[in-house]
Structure formats: structure tokens, C-alpha cells
Amino acid sequence: MQIIPLFVAIPLGAAFFIPMVGRKNPRLSDTLANITTLALFLMALSVIGKATQVYWMGGWVPRLGIPVGINLVLDGVSIFMLVTITLISFLVTIYSIHYMDKFTSKARFYSLFLLMVAGMNGVALTGDLFNLYVFLEITSIASYALVAFGGQHEELEASFKYVVLGCVASTLVLLGIAITYAMTGSLNMAQVSTIIGGNFKPIHLFTMALFISGFGLKAALVPFHAWLPDAHPSAPAPISAMLSGVVIKTIGIYALVRVMLNVFGMTPLTSYILLVLGTISMVVGVLLCMGQDDIKRFLAYSSISQIGYIVLGFGLGTRLGIAAALFHLINHAVFKSLLFLNSGAVEYATGTRDFSKLGGLKDKMPVTTTTAVIGSMSIAGVPPLSGFWSKLFIIVACVQAERYGFAAWAAGVSVLTLAAYLRMLKRTFYGQPGEAQPAAREVPMSMKLSMVALAALCVVMGMLWMPHAQRTFLIPAARVLQEGLTYASSVLGM
């Protein structure tokens, strides 16, 4: 039995099954959804450390080294992404058990949620450009619906903006794919890579521009970021956590990096473009985040800034830079999900997200406060929490690549991030009690459980850099990306 297609098939099946049986019974939906995401997480854990495997759909194996069917590729980066996606989605479904009680149709929520997970798993696994586009759209469309899930004016407006800009992104990507197909006569990523082989004609460069801006839109890199601060805060908190935690990374950054590094191959110019885009996002994102008064908008802008760090690391193109970027990617997935879940807990307990009405929640909500402090310190890069290590290695990688200016920006933005998060902690949890404070209560068990689990991960994830974990998890992923065009030979078995 092949495990690779199951990563897509299981959530896809569950997405249709849950609304059929769980319509009248919300607890049954909870159970089924949690079992599904747990199973996916365990499956992802079970493939860690495996060598590259290729699954040809329908048994259509390549003839004479020329692919004729669609393939799914499970290599180091895919495993890395699968672990990240399934880990966060599992913890988020636990959180949803109680949080989503206040919404009416839980079964539909889980259906859309699992559809999104299926799409992301597909993006992480696929070895085919058009297939990538299909999974990208599954993820996007599910997330458009989830952003509007509350059905209020604000949610609908945000979702509309998200749809419009998301469609622009999809169009750009599709255009890029179409041109690539016209140029090379193939959609298989490995084969396209062997045909282009770092040998660029102007039309290829134009395609690259399309891919960078298309995936950049999905990843919310500045100046393509404008949809995110509206869309992420409007969604229910578990979905905000998914969107900021994994969606923008999978359909934005992962797809971008995969196409740029493995299909086209990195050139000094594209490397420099990524460095600059990353730095601009980092700086603009954190500055915007410092001025927000809505806790979820605050977190959304901060995501833009952190995405900048990840792109900066990838842009260096060195082994250390890529490994550090991947490290920051998974760390950011953990702490940003945690922080969005914290914001959800605050909203759940007080009914508001406005800094001016919050404050002094520390004694009323000790678990939320402690976990939020851990998450904030982690994102701000306070040792020994996970964010410290990934930022440290991104900065070291910048210095090592002699990109001193970018290293200085990374350090400087770290200071601003710290200032921004301390402001959030002060306005929400410490400081003078606000008007929403007297009515606040600590949140129910399932929400606490998932926040505590994520906070614990923030504390221990620095260990991923320990030699053994690094060898089995991070380095195989970084190697696939760094070795760039050898991807083709490992997939096609040449």
C-alpha cells in the first residue's frame, strides 16, 4: 500500500464524509475531524527520514525517462512541509472543538477545513506544475469560504478582497504555467527542469516574474500583501491560525521556492530579488504591525514581517541559509498559530479584539497569558525559545554569505518585533485592566490543551538544530532545495 496518495485522499474523503454523517451531531464531526488530522500527523511523522519516493498516478511510469503521467514526489522538503501542515492542523482541530461551538454548522466548517488541508498536502507533494495549480486552487477556494465563515459584513468584505487578489495570483501562476508548457511541451516539474536547465531565454525570465509575483501574492510579500491584513483577522481564530501558520507558507513560499530553486534554478539575480523582497516585507510588515490596535490585525502584519525572514533565508541560496529558513518556517508555523489561538481565546473570553478595551487579563486568564508570553517571546527571538535559534541562524547565514547589510536589517527588525510584541502583551494581558476585563473567564479545556501543546513546542523546538534531528529532518529538506536542478534526476531516476 502506497502511503503518498493517502495524504491527499484521506482529508479529501473525510471532507465529504463529515457533512454527510455529522450534520445533526456536532460532537461526531469533532471526533471524525480530529481522528483524520491525527492520522495525517502520525503518517507524516512515519515518513521522516525516508529517502525520496515517487508515486506515479494510475501506474503510468515514465517511458524512456519521459514522464507520461502525473506524479507525486515525497522528498525531504515535502516531508518537512507535510509535518508542518499536519502538526498545525491537528492542534487547530483540537482547539476548534470548543471554539467553533458558537458557530452554527460545524460539519461544514470541518469539511472546508479538511479540503484546505487536502489542497496543501497536494501542493507539498505534487511533481506536476498543472497539478500544483489545481491543489493551489483547492486550498485557496476553501480558504476564501472559511474567511467568510462568520457571515458578517466585515468577514464578507475581507473575503471579497481576498478572492479578487487571490484570483489575480492564480491567474498569474496559471499564465506562467501556460507559457512554460508552450516553451517546453511538458508540465512535469522534473522534465521542465531538465529542458530549461538554468539556460534562460527572456521568455523564461518573464515566466519567473509571473511566478514570483503570483506566489508572492499568495505568500503576502510586500507589495503583494494587501489582502492579508483583512483576510486573516476576519476568519475564525483556528482558520486565522491555519492561514498565517501554514497556508501562506505552503501555497506561497513553498511553491515559490520549489519552482524557483528546483525547476528554474537560482541565479544571482533571482537570489538578490528574493533577498530584497524578503527584507522589504520584513521591515514594512513590522512597522505596520507596531501601529495596530486590533490584536488579530497586529498578528497578521507580523506574519508579513516573519515571512520576510523566511524568504531572506531562502534568497541566500546557501545550505545554511535554506536550512535556517526552513527552520524559521516551521517555528513560525508553531508560534504564529499559537498567537492566533491566543487571540481567539481573548476574543472568546471578552468578545473584543481591541487593545483599547483589553488589558489586565493576566489574573483572569493565566493559561492564555502564559502561553501568549511564550509565543511572543519566541517570535521576538528571546532565547532559549525556538524563534531565537532560527533568527540566529538566518543572521549567521547572512553574515556567512557576506550579506552584511541584510544581516543588520534582520537584527534591527528583531528589535522592532520585540517592541511590537511587548506592546501587545502590555495592552492585552498586563497593564491596567480594560473595560472588557471584569467579565473575562479562562477558556474551555480543548482550547487550553492546544495552546499549551503549541507553547511547549515553542520551548523545545530549538532542539531541531541538535545534530541528530538536524540530520534526519532539516538537512534532507535543505539539501533538496540547495542542490536545485539535481531534483530532476532524483525524480526521474536518471
Partner: protein
């Protein structure tokens, strides 16, 4: 696991455990804190006696203790115990005790770790973690402390980010992460930049200008015992330890870099003491002195000659002792009177004699009055500056003047404190007279005051030959074989004798006068007979200074926080934030335009 591991891990583990202790067990938190601090102090003594320790884990030499770190470690252990003892009395009955003792112990473990670390990454880990525990400890002061805690963490934690960059540069440049590797010359731009980043972190932790502004704010709102423990003693030890480590070991300073550090030192002394003169709150006043005194340590280390460096290091220890003592006295006053506002205090000497005497000794020590410890170390710093002046140039006069003038102003400022708090007349208040503090609070003050005396009178036999000279001799290019002329022509034993004799003669004259009976008359000012209720609080002693033309402008600006690095940074950030926020109108077509513009730029760049 060896002694190094125990010293670091036991307090850290105890800190984590205290956080989980249920509130039902009364006294357990305090008990754990006291026992673990005592144990840690014992470990630090044991390590100090070993002199040189190396300890490797995972095949790396992660920890190394040499003569420089051993005495710093000893004093961290010492202050940990003394201040915990004080906290037992001071914090009794206050909320947040669980967090308080938990972060306290974590701080103790982290500080030991930072001093023992040889690996730079490990050092940064402990160092940054200390910033976080400091933040949480300031936060135990309640909702009002939230602003001060945030400012503290932005400055201290922000410079940690710079430290990370510095470590990255040194690591890539030399290929090693050892803090005790060969000296790197600061001749290239990159290594000079790395040195400056390291120095920023050291200055922020120790509280030298321009990274000092968190100390007065934290001192005002955090529990006084926290201020006595961290900004007044342990953070000073750590900050100056790092400065000494980078200036004497890691980097080889060029004259330009040395000048930079000297400027910071001299400027800190004068500017901070000027601010201290005009404060109306005892804790804020003390905290400005805590900033000002850092200048002496920085000057001492930056002289880069044996006597100056020894003076700087000695001053670091002395300062931790007397400033710790002064803050503890302020805490005692606060506990009894409920305020530290100089305007409403006064006349406490007769109610709180122990606090008065210990405070007097510490105040004289910080003002550099012989034969107390502060005098000896300041004296050595002066000698170091003069020694440096023999190398030529005229700037050294400037440093010397700054140091001596700063000392005089310190004395002036403490005259004001002693008068306003302990002398004069106590304002009539409801609720009975203040009492002397309990034993748990009194012992730490007495111990520290005694050390002020002992380290002054027996300066050469205890501290200097005990740990300062070994630390200097541990640095090959700094060591001097002949230590006989180290103290210049200052002989503490003889001087003490003279001073005691002088005081004795004064006493005899006073008593002789008393025998005859003195004439008393009522106070008479400007033709009016003053009622006994009219008090002279002492806060107005130096308003002449602040009313002078130039100074009044400077003071006005300082009050408006024009010079505060934190506020300058904040206004610059918010200037940009306003612009960016205005650009985000929420109008969809505009966002689409940005997207297309971005695509266009990308196409142009890629296809040019």
C-alpha cells in the same frame, strides 16, 4: 554532571518547580528559594576556590571559568543569597510571590550560566534569557510596572539582537565561537562594528548611556528588592564582565575604539549625576547614581592599563555592594513609610537607626570618602587615567576631571538624601511611628555595610590580592610582576588611623562642649520665628543648579525625554508607521495597482 552543571541547573530547575508549587503550601516557595540560593552560593565558593575550571559537553568546550569570571560568579552567588534573605521580609504579604521567586531563581541560574559560558552561542542564550527574567521580575510590580517592564525589555532585549549579530560576525570571521579566543584587532570596519555591537549589549545591561533610561523607570515601579538585585548589582556585574571580556580578551582595541569607550564612560558619569541631583524620588535618585557609577567602571576598563582595569573591576564589585545596600535601605524606608518621595520623608534616623547607619556608610562609600571601599576603587581609576596620560595626549585630563567632578557631585547629592530621609523633622502622619525593620531585612543591610568598611580598610589584603589582582594577572599582556606600587601613595591602614583619630578628636571636642551646656534658641529666619512644624526637606538643596540658564534648558529637555534613546527610537518608528498606515486605505483598486506595479518592476529587473 560536574560542579559547573550544578551551579547552573539547580537554580534553573528550582525556578521551574517554584512556578508549579500550589499556593496552598505556605512558605514553601520562600523555603525553596532560600535553600537553593544558599546552595548556589556554596557552589560558587567551591568553584572560586578551584580557580580554573573547564567543562565540555557534546564534544565542545562549553564552559570555562578563569580568574576573571570566578570572582564575578562568586559575587553573583553572594548577592543571590543576600537579596533572597531580604526578599523574605520585604515581599511578605505581596501578591505574585510564585512568579517572583520563580523568575528570581531563573535569573540566578541564568547569571551563573552567562558568566561561566565559554561558547558564545551559549553565552547569548543565557544573556538573552536574563533579559526576559528581568522583564518578568519588573512586571511583578503590578499593572503600573507594565510600561517600565516593556521599556526595560525593549532596551535590554533589543541590544541582545545586536549581540546576536556581533556573535555571527565573530563566528564567521574567526571560525570559532569561543569567548576566550585570540584577540581580534579592531582595525577593519567589520571587527570594529562587531566590537561596538558587543559593547552596546554590555552598556545596556550595565546601564551606561545612551542605553541607561530603563533603569530609572524600572527602579520606580519594580519591587525595590528586584532593583537591588538586578540593575544595582547583578546586571552591573554582568555588563562590566562582558565589557572586560571583549576589551581585554576577545578584541584588541585600537586607540579609536578605546576613545569611544572612554567618551561613553566620562559622559555617563557627569550626565547621570546631574540628573540625580534634581530627583525627588529616592529610588529614581539612586537609580541615576547606579547609571553614573557605571561610568567609573567603563573608564577604568577602558584605560587598558593594569591599575585602571583593576580599579574598574574593583569598582564594579564595590558598586554592587554599596548600591545594593542603598536600595535595600530605600526598600526598608518604603516598607515602613509607604513612600519613597523625598518631599514627604524625613527624621527617620531616630526610628530606624540600623537603616540610618547602614545607609550612611553606603552613601559615604559611593561618594568616595576614605577609608570606605568606594574611595579605593575610584582612587585606582584616577591612577589608571593618569597612567594612561603618560602615554601622551591631553584628553586624559578631561576623563580625570569628569571622574573627580562626578565624585564631588555624588557627595552633594547624597547629602541631600541623608538630610531628606533621615535627618530633619518627620512629617506628622496618621498611623503611628515607623519601626526598625525585621531581622531578615536588617541582616542583608548590615552585611553589605560591613563589607563597605572591610573592603575599604583592608582593600589590599582582602579584595585586591584575593581576586582583583589574580584576574589582572590572568591576562598575559596586562599582568605586572611588581604589585608593590599599585596603590600609588595611598595606604589605607594609615589613612584609617588618621581618620579615626580625627573623628575621635571631633567627638572629644563635641562632648567637651556638651559638658558646659549649650545655648539653644528658636529658629529665626528673615525676622520670622519658625514653628517646629516647618520642615526643610532637602529636595530644594540644588535648585540653584537647575535654575541656571544652560542647565535649566538641558533639564527641561531631559524631563521631556528628548535624550532618551527609547523615545527617540519610538518617534522615528512612528513617523514611518504613520506613513505606511495612511497608504493602507482598504480600497481594492489601489491594492490591485500595487500588485501590478510590483509585477512590472519584477519584469523590468529580470528582463533588463
Amino acid at each position: 554532571m560536574d560542579l559547573v552543571g550544578y551551579t547552573i541547573l539547580i537554580p534553573l530547575a528550582a525556578g521551574a518547580i517554584v512556578r508549579l508549587v500550589p499556593d496552598a503550601f505556605k512558605g514553601l516557595k520562600e523555603g525553596i528559594a532560600l535553600v537553593v540560593s544558599a546552595l548556589t552560593f556554596y557552589f560558587t565558593i567551591a568553584l572560586f576556590r578551584e580557580g580554573f575550571v573547564e567543562s565540555g559537553y557534546f564534544g565542545k568546550m562549553l564552559f570555562r571559568m578563569d580568574t576573571l569570571s570566578s570572582f564575578v560568579l562568586l559575587f553573583i552567588g553572594f548577592f543571590g543569597l543576600v537579596m533572597v534573605l531580604y526578599s523574605l521580609g520585604f515581599m511578605r504579604g505581596k501578591g505574585n510571590l510564585k512568579e517572583y521567586y520563580s523568575y528570581w531563581l531563573l535569573t540566578l541560574g541564568g547569571a551563573c550560566g552567562a558568566v561561566l559560558a565559554n561558547d558564545m552561542i551559549l553565552f547569548v542564550t543565557f544573556w538573552g534569557f536574563l533579559g526576559f527574567t528581568l522583564y518578568m521580575l519588573v512586571m511583578t510590580g503590578g499593572p503600573k510596572a507594565a510600561g517600565a517592564a516593556k521599556k526595560t525589555m525593549v532596551i535590554v532585549g533589543g541590544t541582545d539582537a545586536l549581540l546576536v549579530l556581533a556573535v555571527a560576525i565573530v563566528w564567521v570571521m574567526t571560525g570559532s565561537t569561543s569567548l576566550t579566543q585570540e584577540s581580534i584587532p579592531t582595525v577593519t570596519g567589520l571587527s570594529a562594528f562587531a566590537f561596538i555591537l558587543f559593547a552596546c549589549a554590555a552598556f545596556a545591561k550595565a546601564g551606561a548611556m545612551p542605553f541607561h533610561s530603563w533603569i530609572p523607570d524600572a527602579a520606580e515601579h519594580a519591587p525595590t528588592s528586584v532593583v537591588a538585585y538586578l540593575p544595582a548589582s547583578v546586571d552591573k556585574l554582568l555588563g562590566i564582565y562582558l565589557l572586560a571580556r571583549i576589551s581585554l580578551y576577545l578584541f584588541n582595541l585600537t586607540p579609536g575604539m578605546q576613545l569611544l569607550v572612554l567618551i561613553v564612560g566620562a559622559f555617563t558619569i557627569i550626565a547621570a549625576v546631574m540628573m540625580a541631583l534634581v530627583q525627588h524620588d529616592l529610588k529614581r535618585l539612586l537609580s541615576y547614581h547606579a547609571v553614573s557609577q557605571v561610568g567609573y567602571m567603563v573608564l577604568g576598563v577602558a584605560t587598558l592599563n593594569p591599575i585602571g582595569v583593576a580599579g574598574g573591576l574593583f569598582h564594579m564589585v564595590n558598586h554592587a555592594i554599596y548600591k545594593g545596600c542603598l536600595f535595600l535601605c530605600a526598600g526598608s524606608v518604603e516598607k515602613e513609610e509607604g513612600t519613597t518621595d523625598l518631599d514627604s520623608l524625613g527624621g527617620l534616623a531616630r526610628y530606624m537607626p540600623i537603616t540610618f547607619v547602614t545607609c550612611l556608610l553606603a552613601a559615604l562609600a559611593i561618594s568616595g570618602i576614605p577609608p570606605l571601599n568606594g574611595f579605593v576603587s575610584k582612587w585606582m581609576v584616577y591612577q589608571g587615567i593618569i597612567e594612561m596620560g603618560r602615554g601622551g595626549g591631553y584628553l586624559w585630563v578631561l576623563w580625570l576631571v569628569a571622574a573627580m567632578f562626578g565624585s564631588a557631585l555624588t557627595l552633594a547629592s547624597f547629602m541631600k538624601v541623608l538630610h531628606a530621609v533621615f535627618l530633619g523633622i518627620r512629617e506628622r502622619k496618621a498611623g503611628g511611628d515607623p519601626k526598625e525593620v525585621g531581622l531578615a531585612m536588617a541582616i542583608p543591610m548590615i552585611v553589605l555595610a560591613t563589607l563597605c568598611l572591610a573592603f575599604g580598610i583592608f582593600a589590599f589584603s582582602i579584595p585586591l590580592s584575593g581576586f582583583i589582582l589574580p584576574a589582572i594577572n590572568g591576562i598575559s599582556w596586562l599582568s605586572v610582576p611588581d604589585v608593590s606600587q599599585w596603590l600609588g601613595w595611598w595606604s589605607p591602614g594609615m589613612a584609617t588611623l588618621f581618620i579615626v583619630a580625627g573623628v575621635g578628636i571631633g567627638l572629644i571636642i563635641y562632648l567637651a562642649g556638651r559638658l558646659k551646656g549649650t545655648r539653644t534658641s528658636s529658629m529665626y529666619v528673615g525676622g520670622e520665628i519658625l514653628e517646629p512644624e516647618v520642615r526643610v526637606t532637602g529636595t530644594d538643596f540644588y535648585t540653584t543648579v537647575s535654575d541656571m540658564g544652560f542647565f535649566s534648558t538641558m533639564y527641561r529637555w531631559a524631563e521631556a525625554r528628548t535624550f532618551d534613546t527609547y523615545d527617540i527610537g519610538r518617534s522615528i518608528s512612528f513617523y514611518f508607521i504613520k506613513g505606511f498606515r495612511a497608504a493602507h486605505t482598504g480600497i481594492l483598486p489601489e491594492y490591485l495597482t500595487w500588485t501590478l506595479a510590483g509585477l512590472l518592476v519584477l519584469v523590468l529587473i529580470l528582463l533588463r
